[in-house]
Symmetry: C2
Subunit: 427 residues, 2 copies
C-alpha cells in the first residue's frame, strides 16, 4: 500500500467538513479504488472554536492557510476559503510554487487568475484541479476535458446557480413575489454572504467563464460575459411564460460563433417540457453540444456538502492516480485570446412593457420595434384597472443589440412607465 | 511534440470509421489537448473491398486482427469487432500479453471475460479501456470510476438500449403493434444482426453487468442479471400506462441490498414527467444514486458513429495522458464475488390479464393475489366484445417472487387465456 497521501484543508465550512467526512466514512472504498490511503493531516479555518459536525481533534490546527501550506507533511493542499484575491489566492500560489498539488472549489479566483495559476502549476510540475468549482455534484470539468477531449464542442450551456433556480421555482409554485422569496432564500442560508453574487448572475458568470475556457481552449474571460441577474423577474413574467408553455431559468451559455466568443448569463424562457425546463429547486444541469452528435446532458445537485465535497475528493483521487490532465484541459500557454462577441446570436424575445393607456401608444411601441427590423410574433395587452397597461410581446428572431436599441428609443418616446424587461427565448 | 502515438484498428463498421474520421478531423484539437499527435497506422476488417465513407489508402491493411496486433509499430490496439469469444477475444488477449494497450467497445466480451482480461492488462502493466462499451456517447464509465471514486454508490439504473427505446416510443406515437414497429426498426438497420440481443434485453444485460461491477466493486456477473425483453409489450400496455401517467421503458438496474447484488433488465412503468419517462427514441440515460447526494443523471446518444467513436478516442487520449485507472476502477484481484439476490426489492406492479368473462373469475384473480399477500391498488376490467375480458391491475408494493407465484397459481385455475404480463412500476 505504501505511505498514505497527506491532505491539508484550508476552510472548514460545508464543503470542507464534507471532505473530512467522506475521507473518513468512505476510506475503504477509496483505498480499494486507489490502492492507497488518504489522510487529513492538518486544517485551518477562520475560527477554531466554531461548532462543527465532525471531530477534528486528530488533525493539526494551523492559524492561517500560509502556515498550512508551509508544512512539510502535506502532499495536497485543498483550498476551500473562497474569494477572488486575498489569502486564498496567496495560499494557492504559495502551494503551487512549493511543488504541492492544489484542489480548489474557488470559481471566483479561477475566473480571474485561472491562466496564471495554471501556468504556475505547470512550471512546478504539479496539478491544480477544480472539479468542485462548477456545478458541485456534476462532473462537468472532467467530462469536458477528458471524455470530450476528442470532440469539437460548439456550445455549452446550463443552469449552474442553484440558488437562482430555487428562487424562480419557488416563485412559480407559491405565486409570491421575487422580493418575498428572495428574503425566504436568504433567511434559509441559501444565498452567498453577498447575495448579489447569486441573484446578480455573477456566480454563474464565474462558472461559465471557466466552462468556456475548458470547452474552447480560450483564456478565461470573465469580462467578456454579458450578465443579467434575476432581480427584475416578476411573478407576472413567470405566469406569462407559463401561459405560453415556458419556464424562466437563469441560463449560462458559451459558444463560438463566426464573430467570436459569446458568453452570457441571462434569465431566459425555455420550453417547460425540455430537460432545462424541467429542472426544479437547486438542481443544476449542463448541456454540451458537439459537432456530429446529439447533446450530452448532465444533471445533479449543484451544491451541498456531500456532492461538492465528493468533487473535491475525486480531484484528490485523480492526483494520486497520477492524472496528467492540465487545469484547463491543455497547456495554459496554448489558451487562445479570442475576440469577444456580444449580442450577435439571434433568438426570439419575450418583452414586458407597462405602457400609457391612451390612443397611439401601441403604434409607437410597434414602430420602435419595426424600425430596428424586429417583427412581432405575438402581442397581448392584459386587462388592467389603472391608466397603465401591461403589454407582452413575443418577437420573431432578432439580436440583443436590436432589442436594446429599440427599447432605448421606445423609452425616449415617454409612453412606457417602468424599465422594460426583455428575455431571450431559447429553444 | 515527440513521436506520434500509433493506433491499429480492428473492425471498420460504423464506429471504426468514426474513429478514423475523428482522428483526422479533430487532429488539431486533440494535439492541443494532448501535446502529441495520434495517427492510425494499420487497420483490418472482414472485407477490404466494402465501400466505406473514409479513404483508408494511407493505412497498412492486415488480413486479420492477430496480424494487426503483432505489428511492431502499434502502440494502442482498438478492438471494434464485437462478439463474446472468437477472434476479438483472441486479439485482445494477444495485444495485452504483448504489452499493447487496448481500447474496446465489446460489451459482450467484457461481460463474460472482463475480470480475466483486466488481470491480464494489469499483469502486463497496460490499459484495457471500455468507455464505448456502455451507452455510447455518455461517459458513464469515467464518471463512475473517476468522478465518483470517493462515493458510496447504492444504485445505478437507466435506459441503455437505444433500439428498444426507439421501438417503444415509436409504438406509442404511431399506435402500431410491436410486430410492425419491430419490423420497421429491423428494416432501418437499427437492430443487431441478431435482434434478440436488443429486444430480448441481452445487450442491456451485458451493459448493466459491467456498470454493476464498476459501481460496487463486484466481479462482472452476467448470469446474475434477471432479463425480460420487450417482446410481450403490447400497444394496449403502452396505452394503459399512459392513462395512468406512465411510459414503458426497458430499464436496466443494479443495486446492492442487504440480501446481495440485484441486477435486472425489465420493461418498467416510469412516471411520464420523470427524466427517464421523458426519454425519446435512441437516447440513453443513466441515473447514479449515491449515499448523501441527490442522483447524478447522464443523458446522451446511446449509439451512432461520432458519439461512440468519441468514447473510443477519449480512451485513447486517456491512455496517452498516462491514466492509471484500472479497467473496472480498482485492481481486478479486489473485485468481490457477492451473493446474487433476485426478486427481493419490492415495488408496485402493473399486471395485464385476459380472463374468462364469467361469474367468479375476478374473485379467483383477486384471491390468487391475496393469497400471496399482494394487495390491489387499482383494478379495471376493460370493455370488450368477446368472451374474454382484459383486466388491468396495479398492485401495492410487493416482490417479484410473490408476483411470480401468484400468477403461476392463477394460470393453474384455468381462468386466464394468455400468459399474464407483469411490469414493475418504478418511482
Amino acid at each position: 500500500m505504501g505511505m498514505p497521501i497527506r491532505i491539508g484543508i484550508a476552510g472548514l465550512g460545508t464543503v470542507g467538513i464534507g471532505v473530512v467526512k467522506i475521507l473518513r466514512e468512505c476510506s475503504d472504498i477509496i483505498e480499494a479504488r486507489l490502492g492507497k490511503r488518504v489522510e487529513v493531516v492538518a486544517v485551518t479555518a477562520k475560527s477554531k472554536e466554531k461548532p462543527r459536525d465532525e471531530n477534528l481533534d486528530g488533525y493539526a490546527w494551523e492559524e492561517n492557510p500560509l502556515d498550512l501550506v508551509n508544512r512539510n507533511d502535506i502532499d495536497i493542499f485543498v483550498e476551500l476559503i473562497g474569494g477572488t484575491d486575498g489569502v486564498a489566492h496567496e495560499a494557492v500560489k504559495l502551494a503551487l510554487s512549493n511543488g504541492k498539488h492544489v484542489v480548489t472549489a474557488n470559481k471566483a479566483m479561477l475566473a480571474v487568475h485561472g491562466k496564471k495559476l495554471a501556468e504556475l502549476a505547470e512550471s512546478n510540475n504539479v496539478s491544480l484541479k477544480l472539479e468542485a468549482a462548477v456545478a458541485g455534484g456534476i462532473p462537468v470539468i472532467k467530462v469536458i476535458t477528458e471524455s470530450l477531449a476528442g470532440s469539437n464542442i460548439k456550445r455549452v450551456m446550463g443552469v449552474i446557480n442553484g440558488s437562482c433556480n430555487y428562487i424562480l421555482t419557488r416563485m412559480e409554485k407559491s405565486g409570491l413575489s421575487y422580493e418575498t422569496i428572495f428574503k425566504e432564500a436568504n433567511d434559509l442560508g441559501y444565498l452567498e454572504a453577498d447575495p448579489q453574487l447569486d441573484v446578480g448572475g455573477i456566480d454563474a458568470a464565474h462558472k461559465i467563464a471557466i466552462l468556456s475556457s475548458l470547452s474552447f481552449g480560450t483564456v478565461v474571460n470573465l469580462d467578456g460575459v454579458t450578465i443579467q441577474g434575476i432581480e427584475k423577474i416578476s411573478i407576472d413574467d413567470i405566469k406569462h411564460a407559463a401561459d405560453m408553455g415556458y419556464r424562466i431559468k437563469l441560463l449560462a451559455t458559451a459558444q463560438i460563433t463566426e464573430l467570436g466568443l459569446e458568453q452570457r448569463v441571462t434569465p431566459c424562457l425555455v420550453p417547460d417540457l425540455s430537460p432545462l425546463g424541467g429542472l426544479e429547486g437547486g438542481t443544476n444541469m449542463v448541456v454540451i453540444e458537439t459537432i456530429g452528435s446529439d447533446p450530452i446532458i448532465l444533471q445533479g445537485p449543484g451544491a451541498g456538502r456531500i456532492p461538492t465535497a465528493n468533487a473535491v475528493v475525486s480531484d484528490i483521487i485523480d492526483i494520486i492516480r497520477g492524472s496528467k490532465v492540465k487545469t484547463f484541459g491543455r497547456a495554459a500557454s496554448l489558451l487562445k485570446d479570442v475576440h469577444v462577441s456580444k449580442g450577435s446570436t439571434s433568438t426570439s424575445y419575450y418583452i414586458r412593457l407597462l405602457v400609457d393607456d391612451k390612443p397611439g401608444t401601441l403604434a409607437k411601441v410597434t414602430a420602435a420595434l419595426g424600425n430596428e427590423g424586429i417583427s412581432i410574433n405575438r402581442l397581448r395587452q392584459y386587462d388592467h384597472n389603472a391608466t397603465k397597461a401591461p403589454v407582452i410581446i413575443v418577437t420573431h428572431e432578432t439580436t440583443s443589440s436590436s432589442i436594446e436599441i429599440a427599447l432605448k428609443k421606445l423609452s425616449e418616446t415617454g409612453v412606457i412607465s417602468i424599465e422594460p424587461v426583455a428575455l431571450r427565448i431559447e429553444k
